[in-house]
């Protein structure tokens, strides 16, 4: 297949590759996650009940309050983190949380990234590239 590259407005963290978990829905660590079990717990969330551990989360926008800024650090320490966060739009909290935790975050695309990346696809993120990008390596379902 031909690799597809989606360039982003901003990114931080390490280069990562992994399977994508995709939904056209928002993201907040406090509102949406059972951080003990590592699953989406908000009943209305499109990923409710699914594990996010080790997955590259591809979601629409950062939602909710300020708690995510601390929670990502604790999740990282307990090895209960997604592999990276890919969002159409961030709020400052997601950036602050990623900065403290040292996790990979990328956002701001010319397209709707939740439409562009299929569920289960293998993707690569390079925040340090001259133009930060998400690369679609293998298609998912």
């Amino acid at each position: 297949m031909t690799e597809k590259i989606f360039y982003a407005a901003a990114a931080m963290g390490e280069k990562v590759r992994g399977p994508a978990l995709v939904a056209k829905d928002g993201f907040s660590a406090r509102y949406d996650l059972d951080r003990i079990r590592g699953v989406f717990s908000r009943p209305e969330h499109k990923l409710a009940g699914q594990s996010y551990l080790g997955r590259i989360l591809v979601l629409d926008v950062a939602k909710g309050g300020v708690a995510t800024a601390w929670m990502l650090y604790d999740m990282m320490a307990r090895h209960m983190m997604p592999a990276a966060l890919v969002l159409n739009a961030v709020n400052p909290i997601m950036v602050q949380g990623a900065a403290l935790a040292g996790t990979t975050l990328i956002s701001g695309f010319d397209c709707d990234i939740t439409e562009a990346i299929p569920e289960g696809a293998t993707v690569e993120i390079d925040p340090a590239a001259q133009r930060p990008y998400v690369k679609l390596i293998e298609p998912g379902t």
Binding site: R42, I93, V95
Partner: protein
Amino acid sequence: MKLNDEERSMLAGEQGPFRRWAIDHQIKVGSYLGAPDFVPIVQAHIMADTESLGLAGVEWLERWAGLPAVQRRVRVPTITDPRGTDFAASARIKHQSWMLDLERRAVAAFESFGVLMTNTCINYQTIMPPVRGEHAAYGDTGVVIYSNSVCGARSNFEGGPSALSAGLTGRTPRYGFHLDERRQATLVVEVRQTPSELSDWGALGGLVGRLAGDYWQVPALVGIDRVPSSDEMKHFGAALASFGSVALFHLVGITPEAARGGDVIPSQQRLRRHVVTAADIRALQDGYCRQIDAVDLVVFSAPQLSLMEMSRVADLLDGRRATIPLLAITSPQVKPDADRMGLTGRIEAAGGTVLSGMCFYQSYAREMAEANGWKRLATNSAKLTNIIGGYGYKPALLSMEACVDVACAGGRLVQ
């Protein structure tokens, strides 16, 4: 980001490793979000309950607490959001000893930084409301949106690490709502009926938040036909921030930056427009209530209750008896007044429990549910209904009066 001599000194570690970490963290955040430089701030406000911090976060704080005082103390007045427990009443809500131990450790660390432990999310009602044009680093979405919108102050959402950084450096990256151009409306919402109950204001905030969609949107509301009270603004803003992650709104003809629509609605742009009716507000509330026919407890919290709200709860309970748990959660500043004026006594004589310095969803809500057998709750806080589902609860959004009725009817919801 452009740095001045002071900022370069901090980044070089000349003022100790804590300030070096703080300014480096702020540069990472500011660079991501396009800040050209820093802006001095007058206050910082830190959200840091231990359910969010976790053990890793508390240990991280403690590492800095071991530094010499000159290297670890904040440089501008820095206060705190609600904690994860009310130490004086923790047994009544079955908080466990490990939670209290973690809380004590976090409090000790913050005190060593010179942070003032106000433990409140209504500091704009009780501590020191910001003045129009002041730059601040507030760390609670409800505080940010109220301060920006009602007071005309300037703050972004500053999570705990960033608010702490701002306290240490006395500045914050200049992006988002510190900038004039970000404070213009991006959508217009016509409100067909001005809400009356606090829960209606919250529901309106929830609806506008869903319409807004993300942090960078600024809704301007038209059609509000009277000046809302501070508590009404509080519930509206808290829900708007929670449902939409929104940090600033304008009520045309009411809030300080929107004396006229043209002040905030750019004439050269066609903004998207929406209409919200009374039926929309009812539909949001009914959507929660349809999920359940009874509740296990009633919660007044999120935000903490003002003295006026405490007074109303006491009035509604007079001569009655709550037969399921009813929690009224306020700030450590309001609580002594509520005690002195007999409000606490009246609420508790009717079977309620008054808590202070915490907030329900920030206080180990999942563990409280398991320890107390709570699965369904009624509240007049739209913000709480939006959050608490993720902790395993099924919420009902009712007026304060209806919540008290439910508490006195054994939890049965009257449709």
